[in-house]
């Protein structure tokens, strides 16, 4: 179903829904993990004053940032400086468009067929990988236009890093695409639901089992794409003050902030589509419930399942973030080009070979 055939009311609903899908889980993970889990890891309580157990803290932070003065450095390139946060954030929203949340629940699946026909001609995976790299441009713009040495170094570091880690990210997906035999995200979800491991199909074939190497590489690359520790050199608060975000304040800083954490969620959504079976639950549970996988119920259950899987994966992301020290820039590049890319190439070769063999 293509989005172009929609009436204005549905356009509006979908726009609001995309905002909700990006912002609400971002708020949830920021509160759950960035505020609370990390505080417990670090033997402190975290925010406790705003609302019960500090649950309104995020609103307070947003309110604070909205009130702040939007400072523009004197020598900054005004237009580009102002534009950069929007470019970064746009990549997040464009990514959220293609994530499937149920047999019919999605915003623009880029599929020409529909789930009930089992017709999965589409390029969702290709599109997702393509738009995920738009944020690099925004970060480079921010780094260059700030007219600050720290920002420039952060921006250049970010560009080098994000380009280096695009490759393992895409190569990890290639294994999944080969195994599923489809570029459509719905097709990948369905392949995992229908698949079986050596004739045992009760849990389907979530690719985290058969593509375990790909999953690990994907998660490492996601960590680097999100510039989270141990790959946070572009921000590196002890070296570069705050990297490309140094000169931003107020609302524009908030947009970078939202971009950072919302993108983490969207990548976790994508990882659960690629590796954890997406919005489906294992076939034996579907049989127990006595419904079919393309029934309308899954448009309700699907989003909840996706949210659960996303929370699991973002937990790992933040856990790693607050445990490890960071690499140096050259060590990071070495790690990408000498370790991750060769391993993912071997993974693709083996996957292709086994796909033909079985």
């Amino acid at each position: 179903m293509l989005a172009f055939e929609l009436g204005w009311a549905e356009w509006l609903v979908r726009t609001v829904a995309v905002l909700g899908v990006v912002l609400l889980p971002a708020g949830a993970t920021v509160y759950l993990y960035l505020f609370k889990m990390v505080s417990f890891m670090q033997s402190r309580l975290g925010p406790m004053e705003a609302g019960p157990y500090g649950s309104m803290q995020l609103l307070a932070e947003v309110g604070k940032n909205l009130q702040k003065e939007d400072i523009l450095p004197a020598k900054a390139d005004r237009t580009i400086f102002n534009l950069a946060p929007y470019v970064v954030l746009s990549s997040t929203f464009l990514l959220a468009l293609v994530v499937p949340f149920g047999p019919e629940a999605g915003f623009a699946s880029l599929d020409t067929g529909s789930f009930s026909d089992r017709n999965f001609d589409g390029v969702g995976a290709f599109y997702a990988m393509a738009v995920s790299s738009i944020s690099v441009i925004g970060i480079l713009m921010a780094g260059w236009a700030s007219a600050s040495k720290y920002s420039l170094m952060g921006g250049v570091r970010a560009a080098g890093q994000l380009i280096a880690y695009e490759l393992p990210l895409i190569l990890a997906i290639v294994g999944v695409v080969i195994q599923a035999g489809s570029l459509s995200l719905q097709g990948i979800v369905y392949a995992q639901y229908e698949g079986e491991i050596f004739g045992f199909g009760a849990i389907g074939n979530p690719f985290i089992i058969t593509q375990f190497v790909g999953f690990i590489i994907f998660m490492i690359a996601v960590q680097a794409e999100l510039t989270q520790v141990p790959f946070d050199m572009p921000i590196a608060e002890s070296e570069l003050v705050s990297g490309y975000m140094t000169e931003y304040s107020g609302f524009r800083f908030l947009m970078f902030f939202i971009g950072e954490f919302a993108t983490a969620n969207i990548f976790a959504f994508l990882a659960s589509v690629f590796f954890l079976g997406g919005w489906t639950v294992p076939p034996f549970i579907v049989d127990l419930l006595g419904i079919t996988i393309d029934s309308n119920w899954f448009n309700l259950i699907g989003p909840a399942v996706m949210l659960t899987k996303m929370l699991l994966l973002t937990f790992i992301i933040y856990w790693v973030r607050f445990t490890y020290p960071r690499f140096r820039e050259d060590q990071l590049q070495k790690f990408a080009w000498k370790v991750l890319i060769p391993i993912s190439l071997v993974n693709i070769a083996i996957t292709g070979f086994l796909k033909v063999a079985f």
Binding site: M41, S43, R44, V229, S238, T323, P325, R326, E329
Partner: protein, 390 residues
């Protein structure tokens, strides 16, 4: 008819010329980066003017003095007992350790020796100051490398030590507890058993940090082989403390010149590391906290009973003369050169603070380092701005 060697020579010349052309084309203008005086990594107001080629430092010059408070001059208008209040604030993390060498120098000039119990209390508090100080270093090292969690553990466990220092002296940060001829008060009731519990907690913290940081591959790749100080270079720059012991020089004033502190009453070990890199310096500090725990535990077991104050005149006038006494402070050798003309106030006090000498190696050490390594090298050299600028 050209000989083979000639042809090789020609080829060599041609390649050199080509390379020179390429270098000329690719030559980029260096960037001068001001790290500081306000920068998250300098924990204070240190400024480093670094000339960069890309991310590599060509030249680095530390600019000190933003926090100069003139303590050497101020001592000249303070009576001897008042000076401890000032010197407390030189190295503000290990305050008690700053008082001891000054008091020892005065005692040496006056020919007084503190009673044994006072000497024990001094040594115990001195080592507890080191525990609090280096605990924070171990946490801060993680922050400089991007691991934010250890520092919270460091602050948590340092608080136990500070509580004990506070219950004995009345001051968390600035005890002002050491007196010429002894210490101000005796230990409060129950202090010894509580301190033993604190020592246990610090030991646990050391194990945690060893697990979290020193056993981490990323930490090792970031610190091993980075900022190597050979022993002879370190000695020529006047490095002291864990920085020089990290280069394999077995030199510790606590063992070599105890100067009226009772380190010889405990069984402990001076740790050295042969590598001289950032990892070695940090590792030596980690082991030193453990040794401090050993020393404190043993001294608490054997602390003698008796007076805590020797007989000193009510109005302290230090007889004419000069003395230099140095102790092994948490940051390294800290010494006071006290010149007295027999008056109520010192005639001149020269403070030899460890961080100033430790920092002076930084232009040599930072040359050729990458910007991220500048931060780890500075973190592992471990300086306190108050200790540099006095």
């Amino acid at each position: 008819m050209t000989a083979v060697s000639d042809r090789r020579q020609l080829a060599y010349v041609a390649s050199q010329a080509a390379e020179a052309r390429v270098n000329l084309e690719l030559e980029t203008e260096g960037m001068t980066l001001n790290i500081g005086p306000q920068h998250p990594a300098t924990h204070g107001t240190l400024r480093i003017v670094a000339r960069l080629d890309g991310e590599q430092v060509i030249e680095a010059e530390p600019i000190m003095g933003y926090m100069h408070r003139g303590y050497e001059k101020l001592t000249e208008v303070r009576t001897y007992p008042q000076v401890t209040t000032l010197v407390n604030r030189i190295d503000w993390l290990g305050s008690f350790a700053n008082e001891v060498p000054f008091i020892l120098a005065c005692e040496q000039l006056m020919g007084i020796e503190a009673p044994p119990r006072a000497q024990y209390i001094r040594t115990i508090l001195f080592e507890m100051a080191r525990m609090a100080h280096v605990t924070l270093f171990l946490g801060d090292l993680g922050v400089q490398l991007g691991a934010v969690t250890p520092v919270f553990y460091a602050f948590r466990d340092r608080e136990h030590v500070l509580n004990q220092i506070e219950s004995a002296t009345g001051g968390r940060f600035h005890p002002n507890f050491d007196r010429i001829g002894g210490v101000k008060d005796d230990l409060p009731a129950g202090w010894i058993s509580e301190t033993k519990l604190t020592v246990k907690k610090i030991r646990q913290f050391c194990d945690t940090v060893e697990d979290l940081l020193f056993g981490n591959e990323i930490f090792e790749t970031r610190t091993r082989g980075i900022g190597v100080i050979p022993a002879d270079v370190g000695l020529s720059y006047g490095l002291s403390g864990a920085n020089i012991r990290g280069s394999g020089v077995d030199w510790d004033l606590r063992r070599d010149a105890p100067n009226g502190l009772v380190y010889d009453q405990a069984d402990w070990k001076v740790w050295t590391h042969p590598d001289g890199d950032s990892f070695a310096r940090s590792w030596v500090r980690l082991q030193e906290v453990r040794e401090s725990c050993n020393i404190v535990e043993q001294l608490l077991d054997n602390i003698p009973k008796g007076p805590i104050m020797a007989k000193v005149p009510r109005i302290i006038k230090v007889p004419e003369g000069e003395a230099y006494v140095a102790t092994e402070n948490p940051l390294g050798e800290m010494g006071y050169y006290v010149v007295s003309q027999g008056e109520l106030t010192p005639f001149r006090v020269k403070i030899r603070s460890a961080s100033f000498s430790n920092m002076s190696i930084s232009p040599w050490l930072l040359k050729g380092a990458y910007v991220p390594d500048v931060i780890t090298i500075l973190a592992s050299l471990y300086f306190i701005l108050g200790d540099i600028d006095r």
